[in-house]
């Protein structure tokens, strides 16, 4: 599997549970040792460098400096016994050539940048005392400490309320424009994809089944899974009009019962014997493409 994220661009990796989204991110950061992945980006040219062979120090430098990560639950990523200031200053010092005072100044700037009100008064707080939204902002500030070129955001808004999630999505969009950071945004939330991403890759059972720019993929999906996923979301009122939602029968296969051919075949209305026997390859035209023997027309409905 490979994909590229350009400068100031967001690629959303979308899929349901069991799709392998987080595994992809982990592999990228080599938190998961056995997998190997290429990140191709205009500026973070990691292509050709074997991440799998780098030693831990080199990896640590990449992680946090070239690539930084934001998790769904910042509490697990933030240290509960250190204040916001301590943690932020430490990561700034790790990645920048600054004095402690300079780092402290930079910490304040970062907290301002992630729109934490009264940033100064927050420096002494412990992460568990902060609200979910504030914690996520601190997490983003930490991610920015090493001036990364790529941010991996793994379900960063899933645990948050809609109103707070909207604020965080706004913030991420802003950082993308102002700082030119590329972002790989992992989510199951189709609305979040529309809000922050320019390009999308739809994952199903460990593979990318469709990719392209968000508008095209969402208005004229080619893969039956993408189409099914979009149609399964409610778009109106049952009470006032009475349409049933389009179901995708069955569930995502577990890695152990993944079929030989197309993983989506058991749930697909278009399948033939070919689909059951052969794995459809991801065919790309430029940066768009799909992995399906019987793609949909691709014209907006």
């Amino acid at each position: 599997m490979s994909f590229s994220v350009g400068v100031g661009e967001t690629l959303a990796l979308v899929g349901e549970s069991g799709a392998g989204k987080s595994l992809t991110a982990m592999a990228l950061m080599r938190l998961h040792k056995t997998q190997f992945m290429d990140v191709v980006a205009d500026r973070i040219d990691l292509q050709g460098r074997d991440i799998a062979r780098m030693n831990d120090r080199e990896i640590r430098q990449i992680r946090g400096s070239k690539i930084a990560m934001i998790f769904q639950d910042p509490l697990t990523a933030l240290n509960p016994v250190l204040t916001v200031e301590r943690q932020l200053v430490e990561s700034i010092l790790l990645h920048n050539d600054l004095s402690r005072a300079g780092a402290r100044q930079r910490a304040l700037e970062l907290l301002d940048m992630v729109r934490i009100p009264a940033a100064k008064s927050r420096l002494g707080e412990y992460s568990h005392r902060l609200s979910g939204g504030m914690r996520q902002r601190v997490m983003i500030a930490m991610a920015l400490a090493g001036n990364p070129q790529l941010i991996l955001a793994d379900e960063p808004t899933t645990a948050l309320d809609v109103t707070i999630s909207a604020q965080i999505l706004d913030l991420l969009r802003e950082l993308q424009t102002n700082l030119g950071v590329g972002m790989l945004f992992i989510t199951h939330d189709l609305h979040a994809v529309r809000t922050v991403a320019q390009r999308v890759a739809v994952m199903y059972s460990g593979r990318i089944v469709e990719t392209g720019d968000v508008d095209t993929v969402f208005t004229a999906p080619r893969h039956p899974y993408t189409e099914g996923l979009l149609a399964a979301r409610p778009h109106g009122s049952f009470v006032d009009g009475g349409h049933r939602l389009r179901e995708i029968p069955g569930t995502v296969p577990t890695p152990s019962d993944r079929p030989a051919g197309c993983a989506f075949a058991p749930r697909c209305g278009h399948k033939t014997t070919e689909c059951e026997e052969t794995l459809p390859p991801l065919e790309l035209w430029g940066k768009a493409g799909f992995a399906c023997f019987h793609p949909l027309e691709g014209v907006p409905a």
């Binding site: 109103t163 189709l190 996923l229 979301r233 109106g236 006032d240 569930t251």
Partner: protein, 320 residues
């Protein structure tokens, strides 16, 4: 006409070490037979506290509840189990992990001494069939099921006593989109067949719009807006509701003013004076800190609690 469910001036308090939270601070709602009232609001606004009080899982501090005009006995948990049931977000937490699927669905029938063994077995088979659980899963334990299957078992259990009202607290939030559609279709179908009334709680506004006849918007223990679902969707009048709607793909929100919420829910232990929303409201004026706005009818049974609703709902609507 009497209502299937009537909630009047409900107050639910939680005592904790830090003080008393008025999780539900005087709420009145009603639901007709065969209809759904959707309840939305941010985490911690008191939705579950209300839901749990209605089914007797939380103590009712004040207020009255009635089913078909008959006052409910709120002091004894389970007193109305045959009339009102609940479906939870995480059926895992509510299903005994040591019982098989069949035993789980039979349990409420046993507790209420309904039918003999053979009759119960027949009823369990019919219920599981109705919710789409195949025979091959009948002897499984909860942890051997997928999330969607567990939720179906939760629904079968809730249906076992043939209640008239089901309180659904985030019934699809933990499920994948493709499975959500399956469970939502089942719920609306069952409602049609059995003329069920639902109190449907979700933070997903599109889901709530899909299932509801009425939508109520809750903020820090109070209802700030309530009305026919399509009206709330197309023309929300409370600034908070508008802010919520703007977080969705609601096309109606593309025109008109934008309401951005810049802060977070205030501490529920000490809610703001006057209008509880004022600390986040871009329209707040001095009066909002002094007087509490009450729900006021704006026509077609669309009620809003905001001092500035008339200025705001007019053609010249604009954010301050």
């Amino acid at each position: 006409m009497t209502k299937r469910l009537e909630i009047s001036d409900l107050v639910v308090q939680h005592k904790s070490r830090k003080g008393i939270v008025h999780a539900v601070a005087g709420i009145s709602l009603e639901i007709d037979a065969g209809e759904t009232l959707g309840l939305v609001g941010e985490s911690g606004c008191g939705k579950s506290s209300l839901a749990r009080a209605v089914v007797g899982l939380n103590k009712v501090t004040a207020g009255t509840l009635s089913i078909n005009g008959e006052p409910m006995n709120t002091s004894r948990h389970g007193a109305h189990a045959r009339e009102i049931q609940m479906i939870f977000q995480d059926p895992y937490g509510s299903l005994n992990p040591r019982l098989t699927v069949r035993e789980l669905v039979e349990e409420p029938l046993k507790v209420h001494r309904l039918g003999n063994k053979a009759e119960r077995a027949e009823r369990v088979t019919a219920l599981l069939d109705r919710v789409g659980i195949p025979d091959t899963l009948h002897q499984r334990l909860p942890h051997q099921l997928s999330g969607g299957q567990r939720q179906r078992v939760g629904i079968a259990r809730a249906l076992a006593l043939e209640p008239e009202i089901i309180v659904c607290d985030e019934p699809v939030s933990a499920l994948d989109v493709s499975v959500q559609a399956q469970v939502l279709n089942l719920l609306v179908q069952l409602q049609r067949e059995q003329n069920l009334s639902y109190l449907f709680i979700s933070h997903d506004l599109e889901v709530v719009r899909y299932v509801s006849n009425w939508i109520a918007v809750m903020y820090l223990g109070k209802i700030v807006e309530i009305g026919p679902a399509e009206q709330i969707w197309k023309r929300p009048l409370h600034p908070y509701t508008r802010a919520l709607m703007q977080t969705t793909d609601n096309k109606e929100m593309e025109a008109g003013p934008e309401v951005k919420l810049n802060s977070e829910l205030p501490n529920p232990l000490s809610p703001p004076s006057g209008c509880r929303f004022r600390t986040r409201c871009p329209l707040a004026i001095e009066r909002c800190a002094k007087d509490e706005p009450l729900l006021d009818d704006q026509g077609s049974r669309h009620q809003v609690a905001c001092h500035r609703v008339t200025e705001w709902s007019g053609d010249t609507a604009r954010a301050a």
